[in-house]
Symmetry: C2
DNA sequence: CGCGGCTTTGATGTTCATCAAGTAAAGTGG
DNA sequence: CCACTTTACTTGATGAACATCAAAGCCGCG
């Protein structure tokens, strides 16, 4: 059960994104009335594919994954979202139902902004609208590139890519605790659990990484990068 | 060489999309000054990955493909756009360069709207902004679903899907002329040219389709649908 | 005509998924 | 707290799906 918390107002929010900074104080105060913040534990579900969209979601803290269930009944990753990302983004302006699911892969804090009030602000503030458009465009570009990257790489390349992603983009550290099970990783990058394990072992034997439980340390990033590009 | 043509004003444009219909006459007249229409022949290139984005592109007529070149140096489809689609959509609000290429797979007419003027209109008209957001959101949903569909299907499933797409969504006819070479199809759906050919032959032998040069007729749609869902 | 690109088919090989089986770890109820 | 169940992890063997390679026919075009 996510715990509802109540922190600062929007106008004093530490996590106010670049985009929301463009709003006037009165606009922020307006939205303030229509937002709720919730705390989730690792593994908890935020939204399920098909659920009604009522709020605009903003990830303040933690790590979540967006995914869709394919006709093969497997989960397919759309993206892994980091703090400051708008996570209920993708169908929010066009559909009434979520077209994908979101679950937390780390403890997370998510801000729920009422959709209708947000739309009101957009209607009144064209610059804000442009910024939302821009952010949306960026997100989309990112997701698409990642997907195409995945499709053009073999299994080794995909694992390298994922490891480098966690080290460089998420944890900013060559040593980190994998927040996902092997099975989840498999879903993320379109392969089987067994092969995830096999290739991680392979990388360990080849001295590319060091594994200690769920902690992974990248010991030869150059080579990992080479594999991710060559694959 | 695309031929520049000059047709009606925006406000009387037959192809005015649902979205542009929400603009006031004066807004349309304003944009009118900043638009150019161009006629392309099948096979011609509209934009190349990396080119500067200066205009917002609107497909009035024809059929184009959006694709990105992967690290495997193969082309990967993003989508096939039909008339009334905004085709220069994906990075237009966030980047200065196109993140993908566009070429015509049929003779096409494309309307080029100056990006800065469009942004001006968006800034002034919040409802229009919301509509653009909505359209963008829809497009994105579509592209993502298609990609995930592709990833969760085997080769036979993908070919079925593509054939059904052309018959149902593009030509609205069970018999049509394939506008793409086998090689291009391969790029579209992440497989090799040889396998495209092999599976098409297979479908022909099994009586699912009838092939006459580049004309294809779907003779057993039920089964094709079954294959596309099962695969 | 002859060159290059598209198409087609067959033979071969690699990559990867599936199946099976066993160990370890983690949660569950008495 | 311990037996019990479940879930995660690991490794090997096997086979299917698919890519690659090779060769030949076809067609448009300078």
């Amino acid at each position: 059960m996510p715990e509802t918390i109540n922190t600062a107002t929007c106008s004093t929010c530490m996590f106010k994104s670049l985009i929301f900074q463009k709003l006037e104080k009165e606009e922020l105060d307006y939205m303030d009335q229509f937002k709720v913040e919730k705390k989730y534990k690792k593994g908890e579900i935020v939204v399920v594919e098909g659920a009604q969209i009522k709020e605009f979601l903003y990830l303040k803290n933690g790590l979540v994954k967006l995914f869709k269930t394919g006709i093969d009944l497997k989960d397919h990753i759309i993206s892994i979202a980091k703090p400051f990302d708008f996570i209920g983004f993708l169908s929010v302006f066009s559909k009434n139902q979520y077209q994908y699911s979101i679950t937390c892969i780390e403890d997370s804090v998510i801000c729920f902004v009422d959709m209708d009030s947000l739309k009101n602000v957009i209607k009144e503030n064209g610059k804000f609208a442009l910024d939302i458009l821009s952010k949306m465009s960026l997100t989309l570009d990112d997701i698409l590139s990642t997907r195409i990257d995945l499709c053009s790489r073999n299994l080794r390349g995909r694992i390298s890519l994922l490891l480098l992603f966690f080290a460089n983009d998420v944890y900013h550290n060559d040593s980190f605790k994998l927040p996902l099970t092997r099975k989840e990783i498999a879903g993320l990058i379109e392969m089987t659990t067994e092969n995830v394990i096999r290739i991680l072992s392979e990388f360990r034997k080849d001295g590319l990484i060091h594994i200690d439980g769920s902690t992974i340390q990248l010991t030869n990033k150059k080579l990992l990068e080479a594999i991710s590009t060559a694959g």
